[in-house]
């Protein structure tokens, strides 16, 4: 478990180093995720301990939202002042995003299935 955790940190560190060195706009951990994916493809899958450690971390992803989420107390005034635009933007853009994704994939795969059955 410690070895797997060290591996995750090492990939995060490599990601941060690449971000700074190449002035990339992508967060370091995201670059680390890409690097780990390449490593997993080359290695043909994760070790048992990496699979377990990653599973445990991802199962508790909710926990890691909490410290930053609690920062809402710093933004009480802003949320209150801009409640209207925030609420409309959040709800409308989420509905638009859901519809655009779902309809696009639905249309593309339906067309493909029809072609396949011809």
């Amino acid at each position: 478990m410690i070895a797997a955790f060290a591996l995750l940190l090492a990939f995060q560190l490599a990601g941060e180093a690449l971000r700074v060195a190449l002035h990339l706009p992508v967060p370091g951990p995201v670059i680390g995720m890409g690097l780990l994916l390449v490593y997993l493809i080359a290695r043909r899958g994760p070790s048992e301990s990496l699979r377990t450690t990653s599973g445990t971390l991802l199962q508790n992803l909710s926990l890691m939202f909490i410290p930053a989420g609690t920062g809402v107390m710093l933004h009480g005034a802003r949320l209150f002042d801009e409640a209207g635009p925030i609420l409309v933007a959040l709800v409308a853009s989420t509905v638009l995003g859901l519809a655009a994704t779902g309809l696009t994939l639905h249309f593309l795969t339906r067309k493909r299935k029809q072609e396949a059955s011809r």
């Binding site: 955790f5 995750l8 951990p29 780990l36 490593y39 410290p67 995003g97 655009a100 994939l105």
Partner: protein
């Protein structure tokens, strides 16, 4: 124990990182228990419940957020390695991703741009402030990526986390109803849309619908995280002048 010595202990402990770290974990475990008790109802979201309890605790005890964060930062730090760990489920889905590659990539580009840019544009047109609309743009993406992107663009990481959570809960409650009304009824499309627009909370909801739906949601969450992290930092500065 006299009230004076109680106060003395409180004054000492409340200044230590240990107290707020322990309370963060304890409140999370309590929220998980409540979530199970409500049979996984999306409104009893563990993050929403935990944050609500902690904010009340901090306000009642007059503890500044910075002192709370001195303890909670150890949990916050785990966001980094957990983001890296997303590569593991992404790798597990690789075969399916390659098999449906074309349609998935087109849906990813269309959906991701619609969700992110419409949030920014609607917020800006309705007169929300610049830090607010920048924090709104990555709200469909999983928290660690959304916060990183918002921070780099001049948004507020903690405000983004709040928007991400609200978006997740909204999608988890309403997504499959909205999609079915639009005639989108297949597992792959519903799952992919849920994961793309509502990240981890949407993915958890997708797994309740079916295993297949959940797999596509997990895939969409990872892909949208990567795609948004790469494209949004370049697209927002192009869009911003058009809305002024």
């Amino acid at each position: 124990m006299s009230p004076e010595s109680m106060t003395e202990i409180w004054v000492y402990l409340s200044a230590q990182p240990l107290l707020w770290l322990t309370l963060t974990l304890a409140v999370y475990l309590l929220a998980l228990a409540l979530h199970r008790k409500a049979k996984g109802h999306p409104v009893v979201n563990p993050v929403l419940v935990s944050v609500s309890i902690l904010v009340v605790l901090l306000l009642v005890t007059g503890t500044p957020y910075q002192r709370y964060f001195d303890g909670a930062q150890f949990v916050h730090f785990l966001l980094g390695p957990t983001t890296v760990a997303l590569a593991v489920p992404l790798h597990a889905q690789l075969k399916r991703l390659l098999a449906m590659g074309g349609p998935l990539l087109i849906a990813l580009v269309v959906g991701s741009l619609t969700a992110g840019l419409s949030a920014y544009a609607i917020g800006a047109l309705l007169g929300a402030s610049t830090p607010t609309v920048i924090s709104l743009a990555p709200k469909s993406v999983t928290t660690p990526i959304a916060m990183g992107v918002a921070e780099r663009l001049g948004g507020l990481a903690s405000l983004t986390a709040v928007f991400v959570i609200l978006t997740g809960i909204f999608g988890a409650i309403f997504a499959d109803g909205i999609l079915r009304r639009l005639g989108v009824k297949d597992d792959a499309s519903i799952g992919f849309a849920l994961g793309l627009a509502s990240h981890g909370i949407g993915t958890a909801r997708a797994f309740q619908l079916s295993e297949q739906t959940g797999a596509f949601a997990a895939l969409a969450m990872g892909l949208n995280g990567l795609f948004t992290a790469i494209t949004l930092p370049w697209l927002l500065p192009l869009l911003a002048p058009l809305l002024k």
